[in-house]
Amino acid sequence: MLHLLKIDLKKMTSYRTFWVVCGLYFFTLGMTTASGMEFLKWLVRMGASFGTEINITRIPFYHFPDVWQNITYVSGFFKAILAFMVVISITNEFTYRTVRQNIIDGLSRKQFIISKVLTNILLSLMSMLMVFVIALVTGLVYSPTIVFTDLVMDLEFFGAYFLEVFAFLSFALLLGMVIQRSGLTIVILVLSQMIEAIIRANVDDYVPWLIPYFPMESISNLIPLPFPRYVFREIQDYVSITSVLVVAGWTFVFNYLAYLKLKKSDI
């Protein structure tokens, strides 16, 4: 297993695009999630010029345990950039035809897919770790009092975040495997949320119970939108087991279909 991961990493670590995209990903992710306070201050300045007063210290955005759900929720938007990298990685194998040579040299098709999936797991783990560090640091900086029970509360959002990223990267891998061209794959990947939303909107009158089982919908349901709680609305502040099971199911399906596709095709 580790050997297969090393093979795929060897392909990536000397590839400049990989470092640029990953660098940009972690930079924008870090900057955005860590600068929420600055955003709120800006909001205050804007409000002040309109004569409204907002007291930002009243919004416990970065306080434990709120910070866990807030930051994992916002970070979820950036997974698309990581998915582009996955698309580039897999479609390169087809444009350069290196997947063919990999098989000729003695990798089985299953091993080839596993090597890509392992990289996806690693990327998801690193992203999760990064988000955890940011949330921990900002939480420590902005929380007025640090209570240990608050700190260890709601940590399951990181599990959900990992699954969210890994599921989306698996989807990207499948798309890249099927379409095999990077440009088109990225366009479809970006549009897939919208395409699914259109389909959902058209079927929700007939089969409303089916809606949570749609892949993109279930992925975004993993970590529910936390912000309405600051205007005193009820939110779901836990990870639902059903969502986890549905997304885990989809993740398996994506990766298995990618394997089937490779198994059946002449490369």
């Binding site: 060897k10 590839y15 290196t98 003695g106």
Partner: protein, 296 residues
Amino acid sequence: MNPVLKIENLTKNFGRLCAVNNMNLQVGAGQVFGMLGPNGSGKTTTLGMLMNVVNPTSGSFKWFGEEATHHTRKKIGAVLEHPIFYPYLTGQKNLELTAMIKGANEAQIADVLRLVELSDRKDDKYRTYSLGMKQRLAIASALLNDPQVLILDEPTNGLDPMGIAEIRELIKKIASDGRTIILASHLLDEVQKVCTHFAVLKKGNMVYSGPVEDVSKGAETVEVKADVDLTDALSSFQGSSSVLRENGYFEVTLTDGVKSKDLNRFLFEKGIIASHLVTKKKSLEKQFLEILAESK
């Protein structure tokens, strides 16, 4: 002894096109096996199936007497069609990757690079290589893990005459180690120069297979010329099946068992001294064209 490769009824259809039709073939250990055929005759498809990148429609094949798995492929070095590497990696890094996949010792990399004379360019990116260097790197990569079988598909494609000669020498050198080589080519003279056995493919059908030395067997042809007219003398020679006049020479096809020295003696006894007498070997090209023509 088990053949290195045994193909049974191998067939591949691409939709309605039959790329390889019911092929049966055996390659023995130590053979340098040439696969001949015009472009599109199914050579690369066949090799693709043997390396599991093309799924056969029906039929089977065995490497080393056993069903092929990815473990068998590690014992085979293959370059199909054209060299394939990661363009953004250096030659060295590309070979390191191949070595990882094959489970070969990385220490071999320096050796194979030296063999194909790429040591001084190993740290340059693959995309900066010339075609000849790419071909040589592909051969180097195929040689990693000390393969028992080497499959080369058009290894001299697009090379200049010097490059072709280099690759040919390399193949001979590799073959002299007792390795089995399967060489697909449409360059007949290349196959004749290095191969021990050959098969001819035409539109997916194997129309001939046999040892290369058989090509030169059979009737000998002798080209003769003398200062005097030979028409009468040659027509009275018993051992000829046909006499043709071509470009000022006489081309005499001898009957079986008659050698060129017999003709020489005959002329000498007649008091004629030939100024030019050449025994012509039947070329593979001639044989190949004959086979293709016959199989219509």
